[in-house]
Amino acid sequence: MIAINQLTVRFGRVRAVDGLSATIDKGESILLAGANGAGKTTLLRALAGVLRSDHGSIRYGGRDADHRTRRRIAYIAASISLYDTMTVKEATRLHGHFYGRSADWALSGPAFPPGQRIASMSKGEKTIFFLSLALAALPDYLFVDDVVHFLDPHLREVFLTSILRLIEEKQLTVIMASQSSFEIEGIPERVVIMEKGRIILDERVDALKQKFVKFYGTSAPRDIPVVFSRQWQNSREMFVYPYVPEVHRLHGVEHLSLSEILRAFIGGEYARH
């Protein structure tokens, strides 16, 4: 379990993460969504221990982060320059040494020539190589920044299959940041949306699909929680959250897919609301 309590990370005057609290159970898979600059990457880096927090705490399974918990954490960053001067063989050996486990089995997917320099790999190849290193250490926690779109369809499948296997076998806890949900949609069971360093929505995907509806109308009835609305041709699209049964007396009530819900929440009108 991960317990984040009042976490704040500052860059100069900007609070990239601003007093954020959340609890993540063992084995949970979370989609971390939000507009550019919402603080997703900063939160992941703080969770991975790459960034020091200015305030608040993160505890892993009831322990403060120390070298022992760090070994159980894997982090796939969107921009990886680490190990750039090394070859595949050197990086694998170093990584295996650090985590105390051999990373030789790597992935069933692409096998990289041992002599290849990491610097010569494409972004997608680096991503899958670092994922293979990370998963070889059999981590308890995996934090993945917005990297899935670097991967071609085949590598994406390798990527998702390897993660799914560890979720099933080891109850891996996964947090994946992504701009769009459709590439990884089958994995997350819970979605957390960030805005300006804070959490604006935290729901289980199934529950969210039931609690979020859209209808068309001219004005919002007082007893219906319309989170925001926008003009659509001659009428207004009203987005309701959380769901109330009264909404069904209205015209054209629709449930939405996860990607439509995310689009409604992220940036734009909802943020200004």
């Binding site: 299959t161 296997r165 099933e168 069971e189 699909k209 897919s257």
Partner: protein
């Protein structure tokens, strides 16, 4: 002449590519048909749907039972196999199986395996499933502007003369 041979080799590469993709498709079908079972081919998840994924799995398994694609006491794919086939979280598959177990349509346990417990109850649900599909069909037909008579004709054409079936 030079351009001809270039074209020829290009054609060969394309042919090679097509052959590869066909081989892949064939082996996938082979996998669906024999190694696992036909059920895999029936189970698909639509992420663009507002229906929760576990609910979609429940429905397609019920439909597969109603259509006799899978019969009583036959094994369902393991949670792991189905999750990696559909690229979805194993917990989602587990939830679908758990709820089907609670509804007494399926029996089993994680780690041991799941199988179809009874198809009897499905007989009751069959008409619900049909009604659901029929409603979708009717809504589309009406949207497309077919009249009541035209839709009737279309349905009647499915049955032999006299309509006794």
């Amino acid at each position: 002449m030079g351009s001809f041979s270039a074209l020829y080799s290009k054609e060969n590469t394309i042919r090679e590519k097509i052959k590869k993709s066909v081989d892949k498709t064939v082996s996938l079908y082979y996998y669906c048909d024999t190694v696992k079972n036909e059920l895999f081919a029936e189970l698909a998840v639509d992420f663009a749907s507002p229906l929760p994924v576990y609910e979609q799995i429940k429905r397609s398994i019920k439909q597969a039972i109603a259509r006799s694609i899978i019969s009583e006491s036959q094994a369902l794919p393991s949670i792991r196999d189905l999750a990696s086939f559909l690229k979805i979280n194993p917990n989602t598959v587990a939830r679908a199986y758990r709820e089907l177990t609670q509804e007494k349509i399926v029996n089993g346990r994680a780690g041991v395996g799941f199988w179809v417990e009874t198809t009897e109850r499905m007989e009751l649900d069959k008409s619900d499933l049909l009604r659901e599909e029929f409603k979708k069909f009717m809504e589309k037909a009406i949207e497309m502007g077919f009249s009541q008579r035209q839709i009737r004709e279309l349905i009647d054409r499915y049955f032999p003369e006299g309509g006794a079936r």
